[in-house]
Subunit: 535 residues, 2 copies
């Protein structure tokens, strides 16, 4: 997820612009957390010295946090038409109707205080990826956004190489640049080649065909339509985000020649060799269309032996198990699967090493700041920039404040950065105790004991014992064994309440936890509470 | 994890042998579960008609469940010397001293009832991998175990090609064969090439060098010693399993010329360019040596800028996030990392497609049953076998019973199969409610309410409310808000206990859960218990 800040001016009067405001997604290590945003603490503290939020493109890791965090920032938002269409939908769904969202034309300019911002068209895996040439009185910074070089992107413009080279001629102080594929040699490849390879693959298929791809890759969506036409099949869109993206694309002038699609409820009546489903869920997301189709729980789409599923997508690291489980499900039903491992049916949207090299040759920056990647990618990108003789390279962790100009560039500060978890409706710091508590219980289980005691410290009722997630296999429930321990404690010392050293709660807690551990081998979180009765 | 059964005879009097009995490991989807075993329900029900457990080799996914499940099987165990040395340690650690473990020499024979079993030496990523030629009166089955073709395995014998071809000449009814790399073209490569490439890589390094590899790959351990000698460094073993494997290997006649190693406590005194650490933890396991070194918490090994870590290992699917996090940690400290992505410093222990093809050419079986892989691997293996004109191919899921002979082979039954989770000290079925309960609470949080009520159904004390893992951000704790809801309920209806339709517990449960959901957006598991007082 991305959030970059550019400041200008002396510290007490520094003005800021924010570039992008994305989310990332939770996983099995963050149970109950689907959405993770950056922590905006630092920039929120700058009040109205934040002049605006400028969005480079419409991927979730660049715009997804806008509906969650904009209320804290309360600044104008700037985006090109397609990105703006996606953000508008998000804001509406969040009930935010008063955010000033300004549309900037492709190749347009924007002036925010000391910042003059030029949008430069690049290519990526979504329409309208923009680099930002951010001019200030002390120099020009090129923020690359996400990009690649694609001579045949199918949708939208090709990389504006001429403008990049002109910017290099003008002089670029620093490039802040995508590092995702800095460990990958060569070139990322073209959407054009994917189109031809998919036609070649599908034309020999005789059953139903499903292509699964990222919905936001509108070029790939157009390719699916092209493949359907070439192979005499009807295109069927499956999955909410697929419909959403197609609507946003058409609304902003893309997909003008998109064919009429068949509704998924009708498609079942067509002969298998006449349908091509384009489907969400390439990452094995359990609630997405493809997982539901594979599991037999999709209301309208049924596959059977002899049908084919084409994964026109990559395996995002961390999703291996869910993707492979999905593929195993399909294979077990006699459905053929095709992936990018054996077929050239996917290209990355990010620059490989030869593309990065090309960018540095166009732009010739004095400073390189690798961003957008894990530390191992940033480091590889930084090493490449050094090899390309960029004078200053900063491989920096989140929160690092770098002075680019005037004078020698240097790290001048580290400001608060971090992550927020959307837990239910509440944004919590990623290191909050609440999630740790849930994880501890998920690991060890939980025992709650409530003791009703009289004034003299004797039990006035049977203890209320609740065990959650503690394994036990015996004729008697575990609670009985634990109650016995408590009874024993009280028998041994009727006035346990007045025991030296430890509170009654702590004495019982220790005894119960020890017994549970002996019986199960687990160490459940154990909480004991007292209710003191008058009698 | 592997557990294969071979039976002979009519159903009411069928005799069985078991081949291998492995474990797999839990992950973030199974919180609190480290070890997962097969469910032995079916074979345990066969009593003493199970004639023995035959182990092909010493990997955890083939022997790991022996200490957990042998007590239920109570049969003799057979293994070659190195495997037996590993199993002996496991049984001892589990306190099992009475298991009859018989050592079979390499290339040896074993007779169990109607089964005559010949051990055939193959190559793999551990010493002493054996295929089993299982002869019965109705035909010979070749169980491949895990294998590859390696002309230069460095430790142990090369694949016994001659014997495999002879078995083919004799006639093989069925091969039950490793499918791990059935999706990968070409050959798996040789340990010999890894050795040379590691020497080439390390000889230019000037700081400390860490090689991380699977401990059980004794050839790779020997290679680390070789690389140390060639690059004038002292070998240091780090990690408990590294020491264990070296001990087991030496005990059984491997690593005879292994050099003296330096103790990790002494190695810190050597100049950086004189040490080579061989370390566990290539998968990013948080408690293994490498993660502790990277995190700065290892008692004896410290790395610094300019040192290098070489991952002579593959990324096991599912471990990406932990491995990459570990690599990012290292890179952030200025430590160089080298992986198989850029260097040929690892080879798989399983047969790629060209090796599978070679095996089928040697053995020429009438039937192929792909095993050892996910369904997508089994299916690819099965398709390859069909292309190689094997007359009958069974791509079958766990629990499938296949009649191989006499007459036409066919699926004749599906017997209980599945997984057991070692939860604390207790083995539970994988679909047991206990883990689901923990996962639900890990996801949603938990609210426990205990109400002390008098005879008339009025509250006799303040409710005891415990919330665990429920997010809330306000001045007052969430418990106060929930207590208010309960108070309101009781105010509205003093005799709530006698309310129609729902029990008091259920009324309170619903009200509390609804309020928690309104306040937090989560749906915590909520449990309400009553303590009824005499007064």
């Amino acid at each position: 997820m991305n959030l970059n800040l550019y400041g200008y001016g002396p510290e007490h009067d520094r003005q800021w612009i924010m570039v992008d405001l994305g989310i990332t997604f939770g996983d099995d290590t963050t149970p109950g957390i689907d959405i993770i945003t950056p922590d905006p603490e630092f920039i929120a503290s700058q009040g109205d010295r934040l002049l605006g939020l400028v969005l480079t493109h419409g991927h979730e890791d660049h715009i997804g946090a806008v509906p969650y965090l904009w209320p804290e920032l309360d600044c104008p938002i700037y985006a090109t038409p397609f990105t703006a269409a996606l953000v508008t939908r998000k804001l509406e769904e969040a009930g935010i109707l008063d955010a000033p969202l300004h549309i900037v034309p492709l190749g347009g300019h924007l002036s925010l205080g000391p910042f003059d911002i030029e949008f430069v068209s690049l290519t990526h895996s979504i329409p309208e990826p923009n680099a930002l040439a951010i001019r200030t009185p002390t120099g020009t910074v090129l923020h690359s956004g996400d990009w690649k070089i694609d001579d045949e992107p199918l949708i939208g413009q090709t990389t504006d190489e001429k403008r990049l080279a002109e910017l290099g001629d003008e002089g670029i102080l620093a490039i802040i640049c995508d590092s995702t594929n800095a460990l990958t040699d060569g070139l990322s490849g073209s959407e054009g080649s994917v189109r031809q390879n998919l036609v070649d693959l599908v034309q020999h298929m005789t059953g139903r065909v499903v292509i699964t791809a990222f919905a936001s890759n509108v070029a790939r969506v157009a390719t699916a339509a092209f493949v359907a036409q070439r192979t005499d099949r009807h295109l069927v869109l499956v999955g909410r985000s697929m419909h959403r993206i197609v609507a946003a694309a058409r609304e902003t002038g893309y997909l003008d020649d998109f064919p009429a699609v068949v509704d998924e409820r009708e498609a079942g009546y067509l002969p298998p060799n006449k349908v091509l489903y384009l489907c969400t869920g390439s990452q094995g997301e359990p609630r997405a269309a493809l997982a539901r189709i594979a599991g037999g729980s999709h209301p309208n789409v049924v596959l059977e032996e002899g049908d084919s599923v084409i994964f026109s997508s990559r395996v995002i690291p961390g999703n291996e198990k869910s993707i492979f489980a999905l593929q195993n499900d399909l294979v077990a039903q006699g459905i053929e699967i095709h992936t990018e491992k054996e077929n050239d049916i996917h290209v990355s949207g990010h620059p490989c090493r030869d593309e990065l090299t090309q960018m540095y040759q166009w732009v010739r920056p004095r400073i390189s700041v690798p961003v957008h990647g894990e530390m191992r990618h940033l480091q590889a990108h930084g090493a490449l920039a050094k090899d390309l003789q960029v004078p200053d390279v900063f491989v920096a962790s989140n929160g690092t404040m770098i002075k680019l100009a005037p004078d020698e560039p240097e790290i001048i500060d580290h400001v608060p950065s971090g992550r927020l978890h959307l837990d239910g409706d509440i944004l919590l710091p990623a290191d909050d105790e609440i999630l740790k508590e849930r994880k501890r219980i998920g690991y060890s289980g939980f025992i709650s004991v409530v003791l009703v005691v009289g004034k003299k410290g004797t039990l006035a009722a049977r203890p209320v014992i609740e065990t959650i997630g503690v394994p036990f296999e015996a004729d008697e429930p575990l609670e009985h064994e634990l109650e016995e321990v408590i009874d024993l404690l009280f028998q041994r010392d009727r006035y346990l309440k007045f025991h030296q050293g430890h509170s009654l709660e702590e004495l019982v807690r220790r005894a119960v936890r020890k017994r549970a551990r002996e019986l199960t081998g687990k160490k459940p979180i154990t909480v004991v509470r007292l209710v003191e009765m008058a009698g």
